[in-house]
Amino acid sequence: EAGVAQSPRYKIIEKRQSVAFWCNPISGHATLYWYQQILGQGPKLLIQFQNNGVVDDSQLPKDRFSAERLKGVDSTLKIQPAKLEDSAVYLCASSFRVAGPKETQYFGPGTRLLVL
């Protein structure tokens, strides 16, 4: 079974530029998550989708971050404009069923973003 795919793996941009990350979840997984992992910290949930609807985006900085999951499969996370403090690894995860606390989340390899 193929895992969660993410691209690009690495991205370097200058502050105030925009950037987009792509995620393809495990086939058949209804729920998709985006996390931000700052160096030396644990991942922090940014947004959670169930199919193509948003379940939780309470920690997403909506003035600069946006995400979509058209057709309930792939997802894109965008930052516009980027700030220095956005330098982090952006992890995508998916889980099988409709969102529930017991469900195991499976993570992709992440996209490492450096903002200069």
């Binding site: 644990g42 949930l45 195991t104």
Partner: protein, 116 residues
């Protein structure tokens, strides 16, 4: 609010010796608890989870964890560590009965170094 504490930034152990990685949590109500491992430049890999039932949970790669409700702990253990177990370990919690979503809260991580 829910939180996870991993009191040790790093754990050093000799190969063949027992390995313990500590985790305590705070959550209103009953928890679901998870352990993930992260290798360099890789996403998080699921190790094990506690949902209900037996307090001793067995997971991948010979790891196990013991849920202790009175001490609000979920320590990860392995009887005999391998050099290949050297990685970053994350404990995470979510609340049972969460009405919507599966909001995992992660600890800050513990780096494990197993020396030959």
């Amino acid at each position: 609010a829910q939180s996870v504490a991993q009191p040790e930034d790093q754990v050093n152990v000799a190969e063949g010796n027992p390995l313990t990685v500590k985790c305590t949590y705070s959550v209103s109500g009953n928890p679901y608890l998870f352990w993930y491992v992260q290798y360099p430049n890789r996403g998080l890999q699921f190790l094990l989870k506690y949902i209900t039932g037996d307090n001793l949970v067995k997971g991948s790669y010979g790891f196990e964890a013991e849920f202790n409700k009175s001490q609000t702990s979920f320590h990860l253990k392995k009887p005999s560590a391998l050099v290949s177990d050297s990685a970053l370990y994350f404990c995470a919690v979510t609340r049972r009965g969460e009405a919507a979503g599966n909001k995992l809260t992660f600890g800050g991580g513990t780096r494990v170094l197993v020396k030959p």
